[in-house]
Subunit: 124 residues, 4 copies
């Protein structure tokens, strides 16, 4: 299983609501890049975040071990800067080895959660 | 990052509910094409909107600067004509340079919002 | 715009809830194949519906004119047989000319609607 | 219809909520891989499940007859081990013959259900 995926992925949609009706980590409004590294080698990701009206920020660096998945919340990114809330953004994820990326948002601005998900775009 | 994406994208689903339970811009029912221009050159988009029972309308012209994302709401298109509410439509987006397009609807006909999202179809 | 899309599309997910909390056509639980024929020629679709435990049914025949979109509800298919409710199914859509297909469900079993959407799989 | 699809599919997102507000099978929180085998031969699937912090589990073995669809719930997998609840996972599905795979979650942690769906990633 060492060749599943691609090395560059893009996610045009990004938006983290500042508001949640729950403080339970599972139910706090969040956006995630779900990453699968099915291969035999650890990978170092480089993530760039793009905005509507200012320069991109990054790269954020994240490690995904071999034969592991990481459901990375954009909410948790800190270095070089947190991802602002209530702000449109987009992202590009580069990896040393082939990975697969799926984008998910859990939105709990309402008492009832809402979900969206799609594969990211495999650029290379 | 100058080559991420494609130059023609299609979104077969389109439907803007006329009704929303909120007047907050973030929560008004809307459909968006989230566009990432990760490259080094500004792009001019040409958007055609297709209907079930009449000729297509467009092109709508929209600019996305280099290294920026635009979360374009179909609700906001005005020229040559607003996109009608409560009406099935589809769209094709052409760009001078490679971009990535993701389609999202936030539906707030109910007091509780509902979300859908998918990558658009990369035609070329 | 005569070459946007593919001629065979597959949608593995299919499920029409028999229950809806609304009788408004817009809000009745439904599954749709949103089809864009951006080209210059009318197309005749042939749709096969697959089940878990019996032979496929079809072809259903549907026409989509040139430069039009059709948001086809599986609920509305009648000939050769209606699509059963509360039953897992899948579908394959064949077209004479290139089209683009997106799959959407509006689920109103609850008082609050829920939505899902994804591009169909372009087989050819 | 013997060649629709691919033989390896990846789903990076996986999460089965332990909580549901309904005990009706249709409305219990679940994750499904909706699989279409439109071809003429039965296929034997091999499913590997990946985690964030331990070795993958599998292969789970599942059969899909020719010209049938299977909406497989990860909740129902038992051998070699149930898929843990409230835990991030990912999956890779291998098939003897071409299939198409779509990923769906129905989340009923709230009284009102929420849905997500996307095509899986066709690796080969």
């Amino acid at each position: 299983m060492s060749k599943i995926g691609r090395t560059i992925w893009a996610i045009p949609e990004g938006y983290i609501p500042s508001h949640s009706t729950s403080s339970d980590r599972a139910l706090v409004s969040h956006e995630a890049a779900c990453i699968l590294n099915a291969g035999d080698r650890t990978t170092e990701l480089r993530i760039m975040v793009y905005f509507a009206d200012r320069d991109p920020v990054g790269p954020y660096r994240v490690t995904v071990p071999a034969r592991r998945t990481l459901h990375l919340r954009f909410n948790d990114l800190r270095d070089p800067a947190p991802v602002p809330r209530d702000t449109d953004y987009a992202s590009v994820i580069e990896s040393d080895v082939p990975i697969v990326v799926q984008h998910t948002r859990l939105d709990s601005r309402d008492p009832d959660i809402s979900l969206l998900s799609t594969l990211a775009f495999p650029a290379e």
